[in-house]
């Protein structure tokens, strides 16, 4: 089969994909198979392709991704739990020529930070919000999150989420899509090559919106938490497709082209 040696293929002119230099060389602290790494890379690839590394300020609040600044090779602020949209609001208002994004998990964005999320969206802050929804608190050890599915087991819903006593999963993405301040609201995933490509397009669109001062773009990425869900990585992705996607269907929720 080999008509050509590996050495001949592995030449610089044949390189078609390598990790973006906007990710540092530090090994990611995430569990094997966690979608966070892919999501990080997508955001950094978009910044690289747009050539805006020197104009971008990222904000990562408490959660698994609180250490995002270790991996993203851009200026970053670590924020208090839930407060990233407020932090980003000021950063953007005071630096309208900079690109500003938050990178938040579901507990952060949809529980403790609900007010900051809704009001930043409602004011139409000209920022990008990247929202990783894996239906669980990963960093603190797999507790129930606002987005945990009905019946889903977690360390604080060990018999499954009982919606009568624990409330219903919060579809915050649909909720903020109702607000006039949001310009682009979409839900994507990163578990297959096709989904990664779609997510990257969505993230690119979100930053292009910011470039055009259009308002707030919100990209939800439904992701796995194999540790919290207690599954092997590939199995967790299958479980996500079967269980998370019916409740959190993928696709654009709001695209305002005006």
């Amino acid at each position: 089969m080999a008509l050509i040696s590996k050495e001949e293929i592995r030449k610089p002119e044949n390189l078609i994909y390598k990790k973006t230099p906007l990710l540092t060389d530090k090994p990611l602290s995430y569990c094997p198979g966690c979608g966070h790494g892919t999501a990080h890379r997508i955001v950094m690839e978009v910044l690289e392709e747009m050539g805006i590394q020197d104009k971008t300020i990222g904000i990562a609040p408490v959660g698994c991704s609180v250490l995002a600044y270790e991996f993203m090779n851009i200026d970053m602020q670590q924020a208090a739990h839930g407060r990233a949209p407020a932090v980003a609001t000021a950063v953007k208002r005071l630096n309208p020529d900079k690109f500003v994004f938050t990178y938040q998990g579901d507990g952060d964005l949809a529980a403790i930070g609900t007010a900051e999320t809704i009001h930043a969206c409602n004011r139409g802050e000209n920022i990008v919000i990247i929202f990783i929804n894996n239906g669980i608190y990963g960093m603190t050890g797999g507790q129930m999150a606002p987005t945990t599915l009905p019946g889903m087991k977690s360390s604080t819903s060990p018999y499954g989420r009982d919606v009568h006593t624990m409330g219903n999963p919060l579809k915050i993405t649909e909720l903020i899509a109702q607000l006039p301040g949001t310009i682009y609201v979409t839900r994507q995933a990163v578990h297959t090559p096709g989904n990664v490509r779609k997510t990257k397009k969505a993230v690119r669109k979100a930053f292009e919106n910011q470039k055009l001062n259009k308002g707030l773009s919100f990209v939800e990425i439904v992701s796995n938490c194999n540790s919290g869900w207690k599954m092997a990585p590939v199995k967790s992705n299958e479980w996500m497709v079967e269980n998370m996607f019916p409740y959190y269907p993928l696709g654009d929720i709001k695209v305002n082209e005006d």
Binding site: A2, L3, I16, P32, C34, P233
Partner: protein
């Protein structure tokens, strides 16, 4: 028709053996090694020479450990 050949280079010390790349490959090029890396993970490795350089494995790799090359053969 021009034939395309590809190859991947896996940074095995940074691979966590999550296997997400394995189902992403259209030609079943990747499998987990029986050996482990310094972190104790069974890392991904190529098991045949069917790679077409599609980069599917690299773009789903959460840890960004795969570099992809592709060459057209005339």
């Amino acid at each position: 028709m021009a034939k395309v050949v590809g190859d991947i280079v896996i940074d095995i010390e940074k691979c966590k053996g999550c296997s997400v790349c394995i189902p992403a490959c259209p030609n079943d090029v990747i499998a987990l090694s029986k050996n482990v890396n310094g972190k104790g993970y069974n890392y991904a490795e190529t098991i045949n020479e069917e790679c077409i350089g599609c980069a599917n494995c690299a773009i789903v790799c959460p840890d960004g450990v795969i570099t992809v090359y592709r060459k057209k053969l005339d």
